[in-house]
């Protein structure tokens, strides 16, 4: 069983578009995969998003506490990357564009996503970004 967390806009869910910010997304959509099929979908509000600092750490903590073992991200800061690695959560990178959770999960199941191991933006890059 794998549980994939995806930062999402609005209320989250399979048809929601991915949020390109990890720490400051609105929600995390958590998708459980069993036998290569979606077995459960759950949305969690990102309570960390409006804090002034340390949001990447708290966001990692939120998905860690929901037992996620994989995450798909676009922009990822250094503290978030460090935290996800400390929690042994695998980090996949979106190929870009406005993709929905469903589309990203399909890409993941077809092994079309790239694994990343470190941050791809500097600290505080998520602050004030539009979406």
């Amino acid at each position: 069983m794998i549980k994939i967390a995806i930062p999402t806009c609005g209320n989250g869910g399979l048809n929601e578009i991915m949020n390109n910010r990890f720490g400051r997304c609105d929600t995390f959509t958590l998708v459980t995969i069993e036998n290569n099929q979606i077995s459960e979908v759950e949305s969690v509000i990102n309570r960390a998003r409006d804090e002034t600092g340390g949001v990447g750490i708290q966001a990692a903590q939120i998905i860690g506490n929901h037992n996620a073992n994989e995450v798909i991200v676009d922009f990822l800061g250094p503290n978030a990357a460090f935290s996800l690695k400390a929690l042994n959560i695998k980090i996949y990178h979106t190929p870009g564009g406005e993709l929905t959770v469903k589309e990203l999960i399909d890409l993941r199941l077809n092994k079309k996503l790239q694994l990343i191991t470190s941050a791809n933006v500097g600290a505080h890059q998520g602050m004030g970004r539009s979406r």
Partner: protein
Amino acid sequence: MVKPKIICVTGGKGGTGKTMVAVNLATMFKNRGYKVLLIDGDVENPNTYLLLNGKLKNKTEVPYFLPKILEDKCNKCGFCAENCATHALLYIKDSIPILISTVCSGCKLCYKICPTNAIEADLKVIGWIYTSSAFDIDLFIGELKPSEARSAAVVKTLMKTLEKDIITDQNKYDIVILDTAPGAHCDVEELINQADLVIPVTEPTRFGKLDLLRIIELINLLNKEYRVIVNRSSLLGYKEKFLLDLEEKGIEVLGDIPLDEDIVSSYCQGIPLMESSRNSDKNGMGYKSFNEIFEKLMEWGEFSK
């Protein structure tokens, strides 16, 4: 306890001549027989010693608290992580918190509140303090380790070093001059807060005025007396308008220093313009204006030996 008079040279904007003013004020006090200590609190770019042709000596480390979690004592309750203001402790249910040391502010709260005393005080080095002397002026210099953020902590250590010195010998210094970093951040605040008199150094430009007004806001918040020095006052011929503007705002001016090649060459030599052993042009604009500033400073403050 007899306290030396503390003068803080600051200014908001970078490159206005804070260090040049601090070094020459220190030199003028020394020329009059005062025992002078110059503290370089611009810990991100300490360079007073360069203007005094001095060397960094007697390096000591500035340690800073980091929590160390003792795994055998931790009951995995997460109380430390819950209360960590900077979120430097990452906690997952029923597991030992993980420290993200780069965001730790060193506040020790976790260490104090852990219900099972599972947090030990560990230390990391965030910078260094040097003590030195040049031209009969004692120097304390702080340096922040690159990539570290806690400049105010290095500045605090500088002031503690002074405190210790004064406790052992009350008469060690008559005058202490503090040279701050640009900006109006907490490291600058820390130094202004220790001062008896504050001297913001500015220049007659739009940037100069903007940053001067910001630093004055901070000085007023800290309830300190200040007088401004306008450096490079002959720049672009805006001096009169600039001074008038300050007057209208009720900002008192200690004096102004026009552009002067002798100042530039003293800067390059590493010998202060006002150093008596230097062959400075006694009729030069810079030399004369520094003397005038010093006279006004002596009227403003009460300085005893």
